[in-house]
Amino acid sequence: MRVLVVEDNEDTADYIIRGLTQEGQSVDWARTGREGFLRALDDDFDVMVVDRMIPELDGLAMVRAIREAGNTTPVLFLSAMDGVSDRVDGLTAGGDDYLTKPFAFAELSARLQALTRRPTLKKEETELRVADLVVDLLRQKVSRAGRPIELQPREFRLLCYFMRHTERVVTRTMLLEAVWEFHFNPQTNVVDALVSRLRNKVDKPFDAALIHTVRGSGYSLHA
């Protein structure tokens, strides 16, 4: 995965680049909006991490310009601005995700992974399958090892999200945003409670667990 990081703060840039490199990604670094714009158009990146406050051309304007030039590379905005409308501004400008500083590297990494999962042009998706767990999307039925599992609508949506992001880490906020399309900060462990109920139905009666806790970041569904 090739990542372009557009960030003028050296410490933050170093933190991101070091982390992504350790994960085995190939990372390019641009310090200004102008440089970022030129690099984005010059090269073919899988995803871009763009700070909103960068010199010469601010992040919003840079992404807008890139989009106008026809480039559709997914963009994740990094920002210290967390006003009510800042997030919406970022997404309207052509960003695909928005992460507020300070952030955990695991959160950034998980979100980048989710962004690079390019929508493959496959025929109508009717079934999700991981190991012996099968989700029938047409009839909204779930079964594991041939045994049917009854799920609440919220549990069904949660499971579908896990299945679509199998092998990857999904964080609690990603789940909250993706499954319920809300962006708010719960003080209690709502997501843990939801996942725990889902586990009771999907994992507990069976030998092998599919939903794994990733310490310090979230969950991952894999065989």
């Binding site: 009510v84 209690t188 310090g216």
Partner: protein, 461 residues
């Protein structure tokens, strides 16, 4: 407050009336000058016509009665008319005065006006006479010279001057009196506004323009606008002060705990656990910080400009769905009571409204023991709506009910509970920013929060 007295000269009313008086004086003076010049001209014409009439009479007399009668007549006229400022002289061919009141006649060449010395007689009022308008006609070998003094001009001038001065003085007096009266009426009110702004400028934002018993005019409107603006500025400054104070005081203790934790960190024992605990502490601090900023942003009240309509019923249903398992894990039941299908969509931000409902439900979950029931209902009331979040937990003591929405307020300081003490403050701020009203209902068992939208719903329905 500045101690500069407000001198009456600075007042608009007074200054304006003074200016009007001045302009009036100039105008009236101009009119009087023109009137004087015109009158002078007319008088002179009139004097000459009069003298021509007399001259005609003399000619007729000389033809009818002869020169002796003419001489006698002029002699008589001269004696009578000296006090009336008229000159008569009958002069022979050698320039010698034969009859009349003039002593000398030094009028060659003949002009239409001569100074008083030209005739060697004392006019009735020498102070107010400069000379005579003169004309002459030849009769029977003599010349009759007639003159009329310009004394009458002085009389005219004097009359005009007197009326001018009296008029202007009267006008100025009346104008100043009225100007001062009017000026005092508006001046006092303007001074009050000015004083208020001075005080506000020097930092006393609680100062207000006194609500006048005066007329409901433009000044009253300006005063009201200034008061509204000051009110707003004061509130904004209060919000800023509050956030500064909150951050300074309430982030210190968690930062201190974090510092201690980091100082004592030991790479050999439980390093991972200690590091995770430190990171959690940082997340909590950031969370508190963001809540404070969000509350401040909402209280500044400039956010709900371009948000679309939000389906409150849908938001509430989703939040209930999210929290059902959390309540279950805590041994409680989250029940959806009455949930009207036709709840109105309201202008607002779905994420914020979700946060508000989430905070209220979390508050109930956090404060209720296992086995409690939390019931959430939403009903349409007229064109508005009412949402209640009620629990059958321990409730909130009467004495503390007023403070539940205060920042960092915790009902039970002795026991540690998760949360930063900002949940209800944030909910309140979201409610207010949406034009709703969040309150704690007076119930006997448990706690019951009521959110109504719009805020004056109960008053109107």
């Amino acid at each position: 407050m500045p101690d500069t007295p407000h001198i009456s000269h600075n007042r608009t009313g007074f200054r304006l009336s003074l200016q009007y008086s001045f302009l009036y004086t100039i105008l009236v003076t101009l009119i009087f000058v023109v009137a004087f010049l015109l009158s002078q001209h007319e008088l002179r014409e009139w004097a000459h016509e009069w003298m021509w009439d007399d001259a005609e009479s003399f000619v007729q007399m000389a033809e009818r009665d002869g020169s002796d009668a003419l001489i006698a007549s002029i002699e008589a006229l001269g004696r009578i008319n000296l006090t009336y400022d008229r000159i008569y002289a009958l002069v022979d061919a050698d320039g010698v005065v034969i009859a009349g009141n003039a002593k000398v006649v030094n009028i060659t060449p003949l002009r239409s006006f001569y100074p008083i010395e030209a005739f060697g007689v004392e006019p009735a009022d020498p102070e107010e006479t400069t000379g005579y308008w003169v004309q002459s006609i030849p009769i029977n070998g003599y010349t009759i010279i007639q003159g009329t003094s310009d004394h009458v001009i002085y009389e005219l001038l004097e009359a005009l001057r007197t009326s001018l001065i009296l008029g202007v003085l009267a006008f100025i007096a009346v104008g100043l009196y009225l100007g001062t009266r009017v000026g005092k009426l508006t001046g006092d009110r303007i001074a009050a506004i000015s004083d208020t702004l001075d005080m506000a400028g020097q930092g006393d934002l609680s100062s207000r323009v006194p609500a006048g018993e005066g007329p409901k005019d433009d000044l009253e409107r300006v005063g009201r606008k200034i008061n509204d603006t000051l009110e707003r500025i004061e509130r904004l400054v209060d919000v800023q002060k509050q956030i500064t104070t909150d951050i300074a005081h309430d982030l210190r203790s968690p930062l201190q705990r974090l510092r201690q934790r980091l100082e004592k960190i030991d790479p050999d024992t439980d390093f991972d656990m200690q590091r995770d605990a430190s990171l959690d502490a940082i997340d909590e601090i950031v969370e508190t910080f963001q809540s404070l900023l969000r509350i401040a942003e909402l209280e500044r009240g400039r956010l709900l400009e371009d948000h679309g309509e939000t389906d409150v019923g849908k938001v509430l249903a989703t939040v209930l769905e999210i929290y059902e398992d959390t309540a279950f894990e805590a041994g409680q039941t989250l029940v959806t009571g009455q949930l009207d299908a036709g709840l109105p969509a309201i202008p607002g931000n779905a994420n914020l409204l979700a946060q508000m409902f989430a905070n209220l439900i979390e508050n109930a979950i956090t404060h209720c023991p296992g086995g409690s029931t939390i019931t959430v209902s939403a009903v349409a009331v007229g064109s508005g709506l009412r949402v209640t979040i009620a629990d059958n937990g321990p409730g909130i003591p009467l004495a503390e009910r007023e403070r539940v929405f205060d920042r960092f307020y915790r009902s039970d300081p002795s026991r540690y509970r998760k949360g930063n003490g900002l949940g209800l403050s944030l909910a309140k701020a979201i409610s207010t920013a949406h034009g709703g009203d969040l309150s704690l209902a007076n119930v006997d068992t448990g706690a019951c929060f009521v959110w109504v939208w719009p805020a004056d719903l109960m008053a109107t329905s």
